[in-house]
Symmetry: D2
Subunit: 331 residues, 4 copies
Amino acid sequence: MQFLSDNAAPVHPRVWDAMRAADAPDTPYDTDALSRELDARFTALFGRECAALTVATGTAANCLALATMVQPHGGVICHREAHIEMDECGAPGFYLHGAKLLLAEGEGAKLTPDGVGKVLAGITRGVHQVPAHAISITQASEYGLVYDAGELAAIRSIASEHGLGFHMDGARFANACAYLGGSATDAAGEIDALSFGCVKNGGMGAEAVILFDTEKAEMVRYRRKRAGHLQSKGRFLAAQIIAMLEDDIWLENARAANAAAAIVADGAADRLVYPQQINELFVSMDAAERTALREQGFGFYDWDDSCVRLVTHWATDHDDAHKLARAIAAL
Amino acid sequence: MQFLSDNAAPVHPRVWDAMRAADAPDTPYDTDALSRELDARFTALFGRECAALTVATGTAANCLALATMVQPHGGVICHREAHIEMDECGAPGFYLHGAKLLLAEGEGAKLTPDGVGKVLAGITRGVHQVPAHAISITQASEYGLVYDAGELAAIRSIASEHGLGFHMDGARFANACAYLGGSATDAAGEIDALSFGCVKNGGMGAEAVILFDTEKAEMVRYRRKRAGHLQSKGRFLAAQIIAMLEDDIWLENARAANAAAAIVADGAADRLVYPQQINELFVSMDAAERTALREQGFGFYDWDDSCVRLVTHWATDHDDAHKLARAIAAL
Amino acid sequence: MQFLSDNAAPVHPRVWDAMRAADAPDTPYDTDALSRELDARFTALFGRECAALTVATGTAANCLALATMVQPHGGVICHREAHIEMDECGAPGFYLHGAKLLLAEGEGAKLTPDGVGKVLAGITRGVHQVPAHAISITQASEYGLVYDAGELAAIRSIASEHGLGFHMDGARFANACAYLGGSATDAAGEIDALSFGCVKNGGMGAEAVILFDTEKAEMVRYRRKRAGHLQSKGRFLAAQIIAMLEDDIWLENARAANAAAAIVADGAADRLVYPQQINELFVSMDAAERTALREQGFGFYDWDDSCVRLVTHWATDHDDAHKLARAIAAL
Amino acid sequence: MQFLSDNAAPVHPRVWDAMRAADAPDTPYDTDALSRELDARFTALFGRECAALTVATGTAANCLALATMVQPHGGVICHREAHIEMDECGAPGFYLHGAKLLLAEGEGAKLTPDGVGKVLAGITRGVHQVPAHAISITQASEYGLVYDAGELAAIRSIASEHGLGFHMDGARFANACAYLGGSATDAAGEIDALSFGCVKNGGMGAEAVILFDTEKAEMVRYRRKRAGHLQSKGRFLAAQIIAMLEDDIWLENARAANAAAAIVADGAADRLVYPQQINELFVSMDAAERTALREQGFGFYDWDDSCVRLVTHWATDHDDAHKLARAIAAL
């Protein structure tokens, strides 16, 4: 019974079907029919014009999106524990040509106007310091917390006030959206670019860069090619994304994952480091308790000395979730 | 009847099967069983120790391989018409941090010791000029020509003499290998790194970086992650590559593609710009003739004013190839 | 009697005086009075608003200027023998983060609309190719040839038509300007940015980046700092530049250098590879002749097997120039 | 009476003399006699073989030195308040192609094995995190504190244990050396590379990169050229450095600056945030007190809300220092 990572989840049957269906002759390098459909699909989803490009990973999506906002001599304000800071091996430094991540504080890995403001207030010495060019948040955050509409608006406001781009790492955007009630528009707020996650949510190897400033799309197309992320058989990536959007499979999957996490959370209520909102739980647990759980067949990630991370996904067996909840409650 | 590109070819059934089989729980980010098998598979194939990493595209494979040899202030000697120079939107400049391609001449887009030597002879002004750090060739070349063992040895020799790395872009390595008789060792020569192509040969979205200097593998693993090319579900990439290597499917596919091209070549013998060796043909043709062929249902790429490019692939119908041969002969 | 390089010339007395005068307490990092004067000085010189920043070298000036026009995924059209291509060790690749030089042909290392047009005509394959973002010319060219007003206007026209930036490497801008009659405006044409040379013309270690798009100045100030080219005692650089502009010393020096070259040219008329316009001569000469000249005490640079380069400068003794002229005539 | 910055200090007469003397014809681009003398000069100074190259700024020196140790995908452990982190506008990100600064804690902006060890202990997740490639310290630190022999040895030890390069930013190396008794060897410890400061100590625009791993010198020469930091009249930079080394002017200047600071410290003993060791003092002072001092004609830098920074230099009038000491004591 694995609660290790949603990256280990299987590929959704509808994704498989769509990929199979895409295995017909078409032209290469995203000139195929499926790839050309993406802009319209996401424009419909978000209710405002956008351009959408596929890439294989969230790291590539984040970095290509940020490249539309951040010059090499600039900086990106993000949380001290953001994925782009902690887990991407310096990818933003590579894609943004040495631009710097400017680290802000905030509870539960969420940025706040106050945290952002403190970073901005520290930039006072002109050319001797890296200027901020963008803000990047993660929806949901690294601790599984969701920005609501008001919180997004507040960050949009500070971004606009300072002329900063506003990017959202949406590796688990679907889960955040499901938590907020299912409106992609609400979950996105007025961001300028989104990394729309698919792999953790039942996809195989496709994410989408969504650009609400569509004039930037051409630049990103060049940058994507230059980064080796334009696949000659890109139709198989577009197929994954479109399959997820059809019949709201992406939301259905996210709801299933969130629900499984809620089941587990019920058994761990007094141990939760953060309230459960999506498919990630951070649960206080000592070494002996971890061993006890593992001996019962549960797999999970040791986040740090004080807590473990439990992740559910679209295919998590709810019975397994109940078993885990009971096992934790019984510790 | 498409002869446009081997990138438009369908995915081989054995590849599909292997991907399906890979859709079982495993750990993410190339810690899975399939990904861990790659080094041994390629070590067996080439008869010398090597490390193998998957990426989604040949551009990424080429650039990551070159990064093991070329410092940011250095240069890569390649043919004036090499793919890395002509078709990758400056990706080497991105991955190598501004390193320069140093362009050499050579018949049929093949490098020769003489062509390489002329580039080296022109580097005489110390720090004012970019020094050469590596040689990169394409096997088979952009015009479908294959380096034989003697030619590879000659370039190896000049590389060693000048302390240069030696990289091979093997987007169509399988076709070259099939042409040379099927020995991967012969087709690779004593290169330091190979971009092993799979996508054009029946794969979906996986290529392999092969490093014969295995001490460089760790660096490439970091660089790959940093470039957003480490896929969390990398097992699906490894599955594609392994499926191709099993039962020599990769060679079987390449032989089929080459054979289809040979059929076409028979009908176009007096029009061939270069001798047919692999699955690409460059055929002299004027505008009226092109129109005539297209009206008969044949698709292909206008290379330039003087010739068209015809590409076959593993699934090309040999009857279609005969039809095209006859149609060309009848022009 | 050295005709090797204007880089070997002494520093002009007025420059020395100005540097000495600058050795009074002032605030660091270009907040001093002299540095703050530069914008107005060059705005007056060119008769249109511009921003001016000092750097130590022409390479830095060229690259910082180009960075205002060229994105990392773009290209700079320049002559195949331009200094930025031949002699700067890949500096544009470094400063422009992998952007590519797109090489054009043209007599005497001068670009023409035709040469530029051929490069542009070859960019047809969308994201697979590096797009042009700027044109860079050298005034005077690497072979000492000057663009006149009509030639500059023609290149301006093609740049505007294709939305390209227009940069001028003016390492010997003073000499070109002197040749054209002394109007900086005429010699610059409607470029967007200029690297204004001073070192070869009697300076010590200061050049100026001139930005006619003044909105780009802030970005260049950051990029300059980031490149380690903002000197804490920048007042000594500003002092050099201002000294040159005062009383048109820069033109006086250039005229003296050009005149010395004209003297030499008189003795070498039938050997000139290009007509003498500024302070550089390219003179056909065989090995025996070179030896003969050197035995008479003349120093110069072996350009290639067919010709030598002779360079005069502001302090070249005109008697020495006559001696050289006679010596060449007597060969 | 300025105590704002040693960057505002005048140029030492011996430096002027040496620059004047360098204004004789010689070959360009550091092929001149003075530049070629540098390696031997510093080898003598440090008692072990080294290579020395001039650049115009400390930022360039730091970054070129670090480039010998740090790959683009690596990181540099430095103090959270190090100059390379706080004041160079992201220059390390530019020169190191996106490499990351890994921030350590330590009293008075000095690194300790413990602080370094904590950074290293946090790097546990393989390719998902930037690996450390080097340690960089500042001698003396940003708060004017000096590493003694034991402290240097301890950091050398942890660097060696983890295979890290060891760089020293020596913008005020002279002051540290003077404080330690005058032995350059003691003040440098067993570092791999040093940025040897000259500008703050009576120079005009020259610093030296000192490489104790002399095999790296060739690479740095290329990188320097590529960064636009190879000056054609580099002889004027070498002249500055050599003038400072002759008769130990560099130490004499540093001793004078340190002594002036000691005078001021005497009057501010109970306000010192850190003990005075070199020519920088951090003095607790409220707004009213700052105003009072300024009204008496003293200039200085507001470090933060709690303290001001007072900097002396080689030419600081010791009477002025006494006046400042008395004025502070009288507050």
